[in-house]
């Protein structure tokens, strides 16, 4: 009985502090100067992050950048579970909302899942934005139209990057290309496929074999089988470059020597593959996509935008590295000690530190981002 009383007291005290803590709003004097003191911060802000995973170069760098922006802005980043299936995205979003987040950034599996997420967010007054993705399905667009909590999306021109990479294969003289991809139906994969297909059609290059639904670690096995069945293959176009190490292994095992490989999304061992001349060109480094969406949601929570303008579009660049020197620069300037944006640059893109902020600040930064852009901005900062 005594124990119950003590427990009840503890719970009452905990509830009291919980309630009073929730009602607090830290208010600080506004400052017109960028990057010094926030105007008025609703404290603490929690932004849910439906991340793409914990492994893989893109996932690791995306998580690192989001953690960093959270740290700079004093936002609690709540990881909501990795992207594994259509259902998992929706369930993870539900869990984040239940955890009391103020906003969510999401990389959706399919566009249809955004309908459920949008409904949940609207009901619970949670702002949300997509990253790495946009909407193309007319039905989905219609259903999300007018949602006051759908802040916007950051996406890349997947078509353009695949087209550029395909052109590198054309220039390298490939005539019979094999194409490897992950699952059919994924908007990103399909758009990249169109980019490759168009550039190959325009330049008389044949896709002699294409294989879809390949597991991330299945590149070696599939490439080995394709090499045996299609000896005429003289180039590899990868929808996801995670297959590149496997293709290299298959080439080495089959004694085929070096063959040009291009692919999208950076991976860990790409340094060796570029240095050794297996990887002709690679597109990626678009980890800032989640970063921009994070800023959009953060600003929306702080009342920066008119919901009548939702959803807002931010299109960012995918880097294309064409040689080992490009890779060295990427390593030094993009993912080294200093990330693509410094704390001051991040603050300048938020309403809390920059009262004149508009979405154009983020749109401009996203459109301009490139290796050269970062090298110019951070000259003297990166050693």
């Amino acid at each position: 009985m005594e124990q119950r009383k003590v427990l009840s007291m503890i719970l009452v005290i905990a509830m009291f502090f919980g309630l009073t803590a929730c009602s607090q709003t830290a208010t600080v004097e506004p400052s017109p100067e960028i990057g010094t003191t926030p105007m008025a911060v609703k404290d603490p802000i929690k932004i849910g992050f439906l991340h793409i995973g914990e492994t893989g170069g893109l996932a690791i760098e995306t998580n690192r950048l989001v953690d960093y922006v959270g740290e700079v802005l004093g936002v609690e980043v709540v990881y909501g579970g990795a992207l594994t299936s259509v259902d998992s995205v929706i369930t993870n979003a539900e869990n984040l909302i239940a955890a009391g987040v103020d906003g969510i950034i999401v990389c959706n599996f399919t566009e249809q899942s955004m309908v459920n997420i949008a409904k949940m967010c609207e009901e619970n007054h949670v702002y949300f934005a997509q990253y790495f993705r946009t909407l193309t399905d007319k039905d989905v667009i219609a259903q999300l139209e007018g949602n006051k909590y759908y802040v916007g999306r950051t996406y890349e021109s997947e078509y353009d990057v695949a087209y550029k990479l395909g052109m590198e294969l054309v220039i390298a003289g490939s005539k019979n290309v094999a194409l490897l991809s992950y699952n059919h139906g994924d908007t990103t994969a399909e758009t990249r496929y169109k980019g490759y297909r168009d550039v190959f059609n325009e330049n008389g290059v044949k896709i002699v074999a294409e294989e879809w639904d390949i597991a991330a670690d299945g590149g070696a096995e599939v490439a080995s089988n394709l090499l045996a069945a299609y000896p005429e293959i003289d180039g590899w176009a990868l929808i996801s470059s995670s297959y590149a190490p496997g293709v290299r292994v298959a080439l080495e095992n089959a004694g085929k020597g070096k063959m040009p490989i291009v692919g999208v999304d950076f991976y860990d061992s790409m340094e060796e593959d570029m240095r050794d001349g297996y990887l002709l060109a690679i597109g990626g480094g678009h980890q800032a996509s989640a970063f921009y969406s994070f800023l959009m949601v953060y600003n929306a929570i702080n009342g920066a935008y008119n919901s009548a303008n939702f959803p807002m579009d931010v299109q960012d660049n995918i880097l294309v590295l064409k040689n080992y020197e490009d890779y060295q620069n990427y390593k030094k300037w993009y993912v080294g000690d200093v990330l693509p944006y410094t704390a001051e640059e991040i603050k300048a893109m938020t309403i809390t530190f920059n009262p004149t902020h508009t979405i154009a600040d983020i749109q401009k930064a996203a459109k301009a981002i490139s290796l050269e852009d970062v090298m110019t901005r951070h000259e003297g900062v990166v050693k």
Partner: protein
């Protein structure tokens, strides 16, 4: 005669599969080089298949084998940097043995189906793999060890494992006990067979085989990544199917040979479907159907009645 006929079903399935795909794609399918590639691939997965043999024989499942293979390979890869080949092999095998032992003890102590216990353990092993990776997403094995993943070494290792499993199955008390438990666990217990000890030993063997498969696979692929969200479980399916084929043909031919043929049959089928341009998802449908047909033709319907 009937025994011989049923035993020939697997060989017949192999031949028919080869002939059908050869007719469909005469220039692309079935060259000597492509068959050699397939042999190398199936020799890797068959190591795990042999590991699961004793478990399946007793009606136990171990879904952690994929996570075990990955974690063991990661540990071996890390140790190979310091200790070279001994670090790679011993590090991986000890890790695999420990994980197998843990699985066995957990399955014996927690009176719940092994499938459920192993799913819980997969999550732990996958997370451990991430921890041992130390933040990076990929580990690359030194090129001096690559030979271990390719012919003739991968074939030698697989055949060695086959010989050991054959010996354990045919000539040891352990093999007899496994068969007895597989036939009827209550009767085996009443005969005085130590069920827990036999099961733990079987899990230990499967753990070691998974680790060895992880090492050979690492040397073949040269890189390894930690798995997350139960993705390692997909590694188990192909060896599991090969082992099921082996068990289905046990009464008609040597199961160790049947597992090898089964593994090659699955690889041949997938390669044929790929050569004909079928996507992975469609390939899996065909492989699943083929597996069901082969097992239906030969199996004792009571074998898979109870999955403990």
């Amino acid at each position: 005669m009937n025994k011989l006929k049923k035993g020939m079903v697997l060989v017949g399935a192999l031949v028919i599969t080869y002939v059908v795909f050869k007719i469909l794609q005469p220039s692309r399918f079935g060259s000597l080089s492509s068959m050699f590639i397939l042999l190398q691939q199936c020799m890797i997965s068959v190591i795990m298949a042999y590991g699961t043999y004793f478990l399946l024989e007793m009606g136990a499942f171990d879904m952690t084998l994929g996570a075990n293979a990955i974690l063991s390979a990661i540990v071996g890869c890390r140790l190979s940097v310091i200790f070279g080949l001994p670090g790679l092999l011993i590090g991986a095998l000890i890790t695999g043995a420990c994980l197998g032992l843990v699985n066995g003890i957990m399955t014996s102590k927690i009176k719940a189906p092994s499938m459920i216990i192993s799913v819980g353990l997969v999550i732990i092993y996958e997370s451990l793999g991430l921890v041992v990776m130390g933040g990076g997403s990929t580990l690359r094995i030194d090129s001096q060890f690559r030979g271990l993943g390719m012919a003739p070494w991968s074939i030698v290792i697989s055949l060695m494992i086959a010989a050991i499993i054959f010996f354990l199955d045919r000539y040891t008390c352990f093999g007899v006990h496994v068969n007895a438990i597989g036939s009827s666990e209550p009767i085996a217990r009443s005969m005085g067979i130590n069920i827990n000890k036999t099961k733990i030993t079987a899990f230990l063997i499967s753990g070691v085989c998974a680790a060895l498969m992880g090492v050979v696979n690492l040397c073949y692929n040269t890189t390894i990544s930690a798995a997350t969200n139960l993705s390692s479980t997909t590694t188990v399916f192909q060896p599991l199917m090969a082992c099921m084929i082996g068990l289905a043909f046990k009464k008609h031919m040597n199961p160790i040979v049947a597992i090898l043929l089964g593994s090659f049959f699955l690889a041949l089928l997938q390669n044929g479907l790929l050569t004909n341009g079928l996507e992975s998802s469609m390939q899996n449908i065909f492989v699943g159907v083929a597996l069901l047909v082969v097992i239906k033709v030969t199996s004792n319907p009571r074998r898979y009645d109870v999955i403990k």
